[in-house]
């Protein structure tokens, strides 16, 4: 494969842009506010539920698991929005303003421009996710002495979900205007969310039609299925079996769905490269 020196130059510029335009700062400040609020709430609730006895220890464990998953669910949502919205104008904005004309007339492949931007934003998303998820897990560890199980499985699945939205946002920018792209990506999030819940409710109510619609929605946009699987892994077996929280999926996505999601990212990225290479600038 021919080396792509331009890719790293574009990645470097993308990282510099998120710092200079204070996008990262704004995300981190809001994230910090969330973590402070979460830790205060966690501390207060945990203080009131600090019980004794075997039953109460189990209840406390379940409670800590629920609150931690609630925190991670919020982190998941914030990371998705960051992944979807931060790069939403990175291509469409530069194409619209004419910046891209100067860039694309240089001896650099358009593939390098697109992949460089994707990589730069992915690094930002990984950093943001590490900060937020790490913050929630540190709070629950320090204040409650609790760490969810199977983080090695759950956290990468959450990151894969964010990667799906990042890739969709970049891909949308090769074809749509910034506003259209933002509306489309947020709409896809809604589709994934509703589709996943329809699948869960369909399974619970033994309604094949609802389950089928939900499965199709998950295939179209497999992001929410990644959260469902991550939540399944990151809670104690007793909570999974009892299904007492909204984070206990009735229909657990399979490993094939993870492979589908991974392939989905690759295919969407390749389609984006193809569109961008043919796009008149």
């Amino acid at each position: 494969m021919t080396p792509m020196p331009g890719l790293l130059t574009i990645t470097h510029l993308t990282l510099k842009e998120t710092v200079r335009r204070r996008v990262l700062l704004a995300a981190l400040v809001c994230g910090l506010a969330f973590l402070v609020l979460f830790s205060l709430g966690f501390r207060m609730i945990q203080h009131e539920n600090h019980g004794q006895g075997a039953m109460q220890v189990i209840e406390r464990h379940m409670f800590l698991s629920f609150v931690t998953l609630a925190g991670l669910y919020a982190v998941n949502f914030l990371t998705l929005m960051t992944a979807a919205l931060v790069p939403v104008d990175t291509l469409s904005g530069e194409i619209g303003s004419g910046v891209m004309q100067t860039l694309a007339s240089k001896p650099i492949r358009r593939t390098e421009i697109l992949l460089g931007k994707w990589l730069g934003h992915w690094i930002v998303v990984v950093g943001y996710f590490a900060f937020m998820a790490g913050g929630v897990l540190l709070v629950t560890r320090w204040l409650g002495g609790f760490t969810p199980p199977n983080l090695r499985l759950g956290l990468p699945l959450m990151l894969l979900e964010a990667t799906i939205f990042l890739t969709l946002s970049i891909a949308g920018g090769t074809r749509f205007s910034t506003v259209t792209n933002a509306v489309t990506v947020v709409g896809l999030y809604g589709l994934a969310f509703i589709g996943s819940w329809m699948e869960q409710i369909g399974t619970m109510a033994s309604n094949d039609a609802a389950r089928y619609v939900g499965t199709v929605a998950s295939l179209i946009i497999p992001s929410e299925a990644m959260w469902q699987l991550a939540a399944h892994h990151m809670q104690p077996p007793i909570m999974r079996d009892l299904g007492v929280t909204p984070f206990s999926p009735v229909s657990v996505p399979s490993g094939a769905m993870v492979a589908w999601a991974g392939g989905y990212v690759v295919v969407v990225l390749l389609a984006a490269v193809r569109t961008f290479r043919r796009r008149p600038l």
Binding site: P5, G6, T9, L13, K16, E17, R20, R21, S97, G98, V99, Q101, T102, L103, A104, S105, K106, P107, I108, R109, R278, P280, L281
Partner: protein
Amino acid sequence: MPDAVVETSGLRKQFGSKRAVDDLSLSVRAGEVFGFLGPNGAGKTTSLKMLLGLIEPTAGGGRVLGAPLGNRQARARLGFLPEHFRFQDWLTGREMLSFHGRLHGIPRARLEARIETLLARVDLLDAAGQKLREYSKGMLQRIGLAQALLNEPALVFLDEPTSGLDPIGRLLVRDIICELRERGTAVFLNSHLLGEVEATCDRVVFVKQGRTVHELSLAEAPATMEVELKLGECGADTLAALARLGRDLKRVNGVVWLSIEGEHVLPEIARLLVARGVPLYGMRAARKSLETWFLEVMGEDQRPG
């Protein structure tokens, strides 16, 4: 043409039902300053984008620096200043040049020296540390010109390079174009300022509705002149005699305009008027301007843009 840096044949671009460029065939020689002229919507910018590989032609083809349109190796030897130069306005002028230089793969030490030279040349050394968002339109054009010259290109495309510049800035651009010509760099100039084109270009082509309609070598342009005569009482037979000495005779309020083949016709005009006893209050002759050429080629309904 063996020394052509740009050659196109039947280049066409269709956007839906609109044909932006239609059968464009042109050739630009190495080391020449080439003017690309036409009214608004003539397809100049679309043509330029096809030459740079920014858009794909619908039909036809061409070569730039001996390579097919859009070739990456050829782009390494090109410079380009778009009409409305924009860049990430959160970068400083020096950072922007450094970024573009890295895209060209210029080694760091050479790039730093080149940046300093160009900043001095476009008179922006003092503003090099300022963010681009703080630059005036003229400063942006000048820093844009510097980025187009970073790689010491063999061919530079300049799309309205003096747009937004004050007279001193325009002079600077004109000087840089002359320096490029002296160094053997070809310049493809798209400008609506015909005076500027006239002062810098060796050759121009006129495009209308996406087609090349006329080509003119300014150095070898015919010595056609425009004569303005302020006359007293003058009969129709005298005007008819004058018209035979040139063409396109017009008379408005006692002032007569006439196009003639060259200076040698002027004494004939004077002799004719004296012989017929027509009072002559003034006589002014000037070489035909590019603007006049433009209006003649395009038709009176068109204006450059």
